[in-house]
């Protein structure tokens, strides 16, 4: 029984990792005032690029770097449309998702069904991994897990405790006032969208080279959208994102746990999506002022206009 619990908690951490990476990226992006609905597409591009690079070089670390680079490059599209052209961010984000899903399907077509020879190896942290239960669950994990938690904490520190972080937040709250303080709003927003894209792509890389060792079209399975809901659940705070992501990781694992009980697998597959609606429903009972949403989220900012 203990083994079962250990394995369930461990798998929860692994399943929550891409959600955490994606959510942290989206939090950074939305804090600067830009809503990015392209996460699903960028994640998919990250997954396929990481897979292809690992497949041809055998180096999952190089693959991760390549995936992040690809995610950042493709996110420039959304930054350009929403910052420079002041376009509708919902539509631009959807376009990014379409392009990302299409591009990944196109690039990955010849790799469908080919398993990887290598994948990102788990790393056991000396000393800590020897602790019973906790050691196995938290310290014998895929490097992506450590990186995700570390980056989440780092992002929290960055946003809440550094000067640049304050600039990012005030850009999302009141870009006009921020600009009068000599901050280049456009530059900050570009940077945040692009960094957010890097995070999403990294989440995708985890899916194809660590969580599983294969590429199939649509393998992101709506995680990019769940991430956008988790950003709300996290109250735009990367620290809270950790809880949200691993709760949802647990829901993903629950599917496999309940399957032997004879419940329809299709019904169980609805769980993450239904839970997303449920969690947003619960959040809606909170006082909107305490929800912390960036005041100018999704609003295009035009310089020199009143």
């Amino acid at each position: 029984m203990e083994d079962v619990i250990v394995s369930v908690v461990q798998r929860t951490m692994v399943a929550g990792t891409p959600l955490l990476l994606g959510t942290v990226g989206e939090v950074i992006c939305e804090r600067s005032g830009i809503l990015n609905l392209g996460v699903e597409g960028v994640m998919s591009v990250g997954a396929v690029v990481a897979f292809i690079v690992t497949y041809s070089t055998g180096d999952p670390w190089l693959a991760m770097v390549a995936a992040i680079g690809a995610g950042m490059i493709i996110s420039i599209l959304h930054a350009f449309a929403s910052v420079t052209l002041q376009a509708n961010q919902v539509v631009s984000g959807l376009a990014l998702t379409m392009i990302g899903l299409g591009l990944s399907g196109m690039l990955g077509k010849q790799y469908v069904g080919k398993p990887l020879a290598v994948k990102m190896d788990d790393i056991a942290i000396p000393w800590l991994s020897d602790i019973p239960f906790i050691g196995t669950v938290f310290f014998k994990q895929t490097p992506y897990f450590y990186m995700a938690v570390f980056l989440a904490l780092g992002a929290w520190f960055f946003l809440e405790r550094t000067r640049l972080g304050i600039k990012v937040r005030s850009t999302g709250e009141n870009p006009r006032a921020t600009e009068t303080q000599g901050v280049n709003v456009a530059r900050i927003r570009y940077a945040c969208v692009i960094i957010g894209g890097g995070f999403s792509a990294m989440a995708g890389a985890h899916l194809s080279t660590s969580y599983s060792k294969s590429w199939i079209e649509g393998m992101t399975a709506g995680r990019g959208w769940i991430v956008i809901a988790l950003t709300i659940f996290a109250l735009w705070n990367p620290g809270r994102a950790i809880w949200g992501a691993f709760i949802f990781g647990g829901i993903f694992v629950l599917q496999y746990l309940l399957q032997p009980l004879g419940i329809s697998p299709n019904f169980l597959a609805m769980l993450p999506y239904g839970s997303t609606l449920l969690i947003l429903l619960v959040m809606s009972f909170k006082d909107p002022r305490r929800l912390n949403a960036p005041a100018q989220l999704g609003e295009p900012y035009k310089r020199g206009e009143r």
């Binding site: 959807l94 376009a95 379409m98 299409g102 196109m106 079209e217 956008i228 299709n266 947003l280 429903l281």
Partner: protein, 365 residues
Amino acid sequence: MITIKVSDRQRITTLRSILTNIASLFAALIAVGVVFLVCGVNPFYAIAQIFSGSFGSIYGFKETVTKAIPLILIGGGLTLAFRAKFWNIGAEGQLLMGALMGTWVGLAWGDSLPSFFLVPAMFAAGFAGGAMCGLIPAILKIKFSINEVISTLMLNYICAEFITMLIVGPWKGKTRFGFPGTDNLPDTALLNVIPGSRIHYATLILAIVSVVILAVIVYRTRFGYEVRVIGENPEAGRYAGIDFFRTSLVIMAISGGLAGFAGVGEVAGIHQYLGYPASVSSGYGFTAIIVAWLAKLNPLLSIISAIFFAGILVGGDAIQISLGLPAATVQIVNGILLVFLIMGDYFLRNQVRLVFGNAVQRKSA
């Protein structure tokens, strides 16, 4: 020294708006060509294939019209929702629920009712199914301020899994020999097609009548005016006493219901049974988003833009076969078209000029 000077355009004429759209489409085709080039495909050949595959032959054009039917219905419905800035991304799920309800009525009463009563009943049930699926996000948005993009998308996944659950489980047909899918609909439930094509004309007529009615609603009624106010200036709408809840419910019932019509059309006109969600709809709900956008949220223009995008879907199938490109290619083409359409809007709203000579101060970036 060359500088870019941007200033607001004071007047936007319809002609300029249409020309801008056409220019955006051309620019997008060039970008698509570049993508083809990178993938090692001759772009001129590929793009020529897309359009000759869809508009170049009688057979291709018939297929284009067939695929335009759901796009007109859904795209038309989305023009209404998008006008109110209600981002309904859930047409795919609404279509599926329509298909589900239509199939249910068709299978349950197929043997006892004549076509004359049965087919309208199926469409009514399909409308109800799609509308129900559309009302949920409307209630969630107005009463619980839940972002409709997320809720409609989540419902897409839930509806797809729900249908799969039914067709591998309780609804699995006895005539399918263990394969997933319902039994075939009885003949009374099937829609007639124009001979030699797959055009189920009943749905086509329904689609055109629907968007005409929609256009009247949007441009000629108080409700249509309220929809526009909600989208363009919600504050003013609140002061004017517009009931946001009621208006959103009606918008989403119509938008979802029309997608439901499309679902019935696909099942009763083409597939003749309810199978896997991915085969019932080949992403019509998503393509219709661009249809509505290209139509500048004008319900009548959505007929033209639906035919255009149906052409791309059909042409996309053609190049899959002739050039061995994956199905995802069409998605890239669609995404790029959408990006260029939004970019075109910028040039419509702003006058962008290159100024030669000494730099005049840049007005905005």
